[in-house]
Symmetry: C2
Subunit: 352 residues, 2 copies
């Protein structure tokens, strides 16, 4: 993101936003035990930030809530450094450039990036992941075209390598990432199977996200359901859960199948690792390719991926769900909600 | 293998062979329990086979002994159909064409392929994997350029994707495949670490196979030894063992590391699968690519791979060890020997 984009299409449907005189921020006050809770955070005001030479100041409009924030709040370095106690919580956000001392960005441009849970952020241009172009509603840039959509698209295409006719199974199939994986898989010609933890979500998979099949693993025998729906085995498993579901599904993979490990949400603690059946023989005899996906490894492909997603969205081929709460005080409790199985869709906090 | 090769270089060092009037064959008489033993087989004579139109008759000179034969002898289809009871044991072999009704093959050509444990084989040309060219000793075509060398080269290059400077760990590092993986890795610029089950084999890794480091897992702490030798983690693990060694090594992989599952020799039985620590979190957080390798998936690349191996061998960059027994009666007991840790090198039976 180093050049001005003269022919950028600004986002449609930008909500009103104010320009408060103080910068309200959600600070991480202590290391969470397990899933972060509201009491781990405090909201405090600071002075308006000023841009250093080469920097931008962003007025955030939508704060993003992501499961990855759980790891960022912990003391152990996970994929990235822990958030320092007393600092604003690390987060993605969508906002508008209100001051620019960087040649590549003009005031009034809408951008998506590492702006944290606060009203204003003074950042280097490297913190901007994307400009909000392509004439879509602003909220989509933190959801459909944000980290969820990018994860769904890049993990599926780069690691899952779908071919037309492949049988694709998605776990947490109605979730913010999974629901997009299913839709993208179908656009690319896969037969799509969704695995969820409830009848309502399974119904949503069929009616809203276009899955060919959907199962409730709490009520159905996963192995039998897969064997019925994909009698030649699964070519791709897009897994957000790990654990016993993964073990069962590995034994339903077709020769040469790809397993995309995008999350391990079903396993509460990894230290020490829980035990399960050994899976190396499945990897060998089925000639699987089992890969781990972390979105920020693929940053070079973000703009190209978002453009493809935007085109599909404009053509009406992709639906996404946003779950938008209003007010910064909604942020601290929001990380826990997907772990409680509460949300269906991308959680955003409107702070305009 | 469909065209005559006018400028083929015949093998050097072809041992004498006779042309007996009867076809001695090693027949599989019963399903082995565990590892095949001599009592599971019988040697019997049959008439000399005649080639049907389009077929060849091969006089076998070296029979190959391969760990895969264990699976072929069992009743359960593994990678391929079980050998029928009362039939010659499925095997690779090197031999000479003594009769040809196939335009692509001339009498007197040396060939490597699916000729089974017998003196003579009447086969379709599709059973020929390679012509024995490139001016190397005939035995090398069943060893260095045969399934072991092809496995080492193709699994390492196709799935391990080595880059110069990568840290490559090989389990069963002094074995018929492992010893070649280490050498090929070194030729391709990797730092090579060998894992073996004995001090003598570890010494052989250093003195003969050119490993930079070699460990005896029975005496050394694998994790500590790896951490000392490869402080930035392992980029490639070429695994022939599975089990507890695999679990330990996965936790020593660098981000983006490749795990090539080529065997699971340390685990005696898979039904039901033994338990071990869950590894999906390692796959995810380390962004591993963990793939299963079965050599016969890669047949289209055999000739090109063998040519590269032959060039290295001619340049003196690759050493291989053959362990050649004489007489067809040596074949039935030979499958068990690598499982007993007895051999270092490729086991062949000379039946000329």
């Amino acid at each position: 993101v180093t050049q001005a984009q003269p022919n950028a299409h600004p986002p449609t449907d930008v909500p009103a936003y104010s320009l408060p005189h103080r910068n309200a921020r959600v600070l991480l006050m202590r290391r969470p035990v397990g899933i972060p809770q509201p009491a781990d955070f405090a909201i405090a005001e600071a002075d308006l930030p000023e841009p250093a030479p080469g920097q931008l100041v962003i007025r955030n409009i939508y704060l993003s809530v992501d499961p990855e924030q759980r790891g960022w709040a912990l003391a152990e370095p996970n994929y990235s450094e822990p958030v320092a106690l007393g600092s604003p919580m690390r987060a993605l956000a969508v906002g508008v450039v209100i001051k620019s001392r960087a040649a590549a960005f003009a005031e009034g441009e809408f951008v998506y990036g590492w702006f944290d849970w606060q009203d204003y952020a003074a950042v280097d241009p490297a913190k901007v992941l994307m400009r909000a172009r392509w004439g879509l509603p602003l909220a989509d840039f933190a959801g459909l075209l944000g980290i969820n959509g990018l994860t769904a698209y890049l993990a599926l295409t780069q690691l899952g390598r779908p071919n037309a006719g492949d049988a694709l199974l998605v776990s947490t199939a109605a979730g913010a990432v999974g629901s997009l994986v299913g839709q993208i898989g179908r656009i690319l010609g896969c037969a799509t199977l969704g695995l969820t933890g409830g009848d309502e979500k399974a119904e949503l998979c069929l009616s809203r996200f276009g899955y060919n099949y959907a199962f409730n693993y709490k009520r159905q025998n996963v192995s039998e359901a897969i064997a019925d729906a994909a009698p030649k085995g699964l070519n791709i498993f897009f897994d957000n859960t790990g654990g016993a579901i993964l073990d069962a599904v590995l034994r339903q993979m077709a020769t040469g199948g790809r397993v995309v490990q995008c999350g391990t949400a079903s396993v509460a603690a990894w230290n020490p690792p829980p035990v399960g059946p050994r899976n190396e023989r499945e990897v060998l005899t089925r000639r699987l390719v089992w890969s781990g996906f972390v979105i920020f490894d693929h940053q070079a492909l973000f703009v190209r991926a978002a453009e493809r997603l935007a085109n599909w969205a404009i053509e009406g081929k992709l639906v996404s769900q946003s779950d938008i709460a209003a007010g910064m005080d909604q942020a601290p409790g929001a990380i826990a909600s997907p772990y409680a199985g509460e949300n269906t869709g991308k959680k955003l906090i409107y702070v305009g």
